[in-house]
């Protein structure tokens, strides 16, 4: 239940942020001035926090998406398996968020 709601919430967040990330990366790839400004923004406090949030939301949506795809091909087709995989996804995401917060 929580896993599905969080999948939607992270999805809505990513709808706004991933196109912006693509736009930013392309702009930085196409112009040296845009690269300079983009890198300065990314390495500022705001940019770092936004990048961290994006990576965490994406990681969650990514792993939970794999879980849904496995469900569709009938690999985790029981209540217990779905509960277990939801726990695995949530704990992996928390672990990833902590590691990224230290490493970034």
């Amino acid at each position: 239940m929580f896993a599905s709601i969080a999948h939607r919430a992270s999805g809505i967040f990513l709808v706004f942020i991933i196109p912006a990330a693509l736009w930013l990366l392309l702009a930085m790839a196409h112009g040296s001035i845009a690269y300079m400004y983009g890198l300065a923004w990314l390495q500022s406090a705001t940019g770092t926090v936004v990048l961290w949030l994006t990576c965490v939301a994406l990681f969650y949506h990514f792993s939970n998406g794999i879980r849904f795809l496995l469900l569709d091909i009938g690999k985790t087709d029981s209540r217990e398996a779905m509960k277990l995989s939801a726990k695995i996804v949530v704990f992996t995401t928390i672990l990833f968020a902590l590691i990224l917060a230290v490493k970034i």
Binding site: R8, G11, I12, V15, I18, P19, A21, L22, W23, L24, L25, L26, A27, M28, A29, H30, G31, S32, I33, A34, Y35, M36, G38, L39, L42, Q43, G47, T48, L51, T54, C55, L58, F62, G65, I66, L69, D72, I104
Partner: protein, 130 residues
């Protein structure tokens, strides 16, 4: 598949199918996008290598495919959410039409951005800049 219980519009299976197709494509490509962004953030990718990679026709094609998969996934995902929380047909039609126009407009703008190198206004190596 037999034509029964397909829902009112009869396009549910179609939406579900395209959502999965785009999901698998994004599964393969989105780590590249985030990896490049993180490596650039860490200062491991200079402007010159980023520019060389993204101006290659193959990477332009892949960027455009990624863009289409992303927009397909956004459309199918948001459609499911909107149809769950907006209950009247009229409101749904209005919201979904606005969303569709925004997404198609964004697709056009970004395709131009990818192919025409909007950075003529900036400095771009193949355009004769620094």
């Amino acid at each position: 598949m037999k034509d029964k219980d397909l829902g009112t519009a009869g396009t549910g299976f179609h939406d579900w199918y395209w959502q999965r197709i785009s999901a698998v494509f994004l599964l393969l490509t989105i780590p590249v996008l985030m990896g490049l962004l993180l490596l650039t953030y860490n200062g491991n990718i200079s402007f010159h290598s980023l520019n060389t990679w993204f101006t290659h026709p193959i990477s332009k094609t892949l960027s455009n495919l990624f863009l289409f998969a992303l927009l397909t996934h956004m459309w199918t995902g948001l459609k499911v959410i909107i149809e769950d929380y907006v209950h009247t047909t009229a409101a749904r039609a209005v919201v979904l039409n606005i969303l569709l126009i925004l997404l198609v407009g964004f697709a056009m703008y970004m395709s131009y951005f990818i192919w025409a190198e909007i950075s003529y206004t900036f400095n771009c190596i193949p355009c004769g800049g620094k």
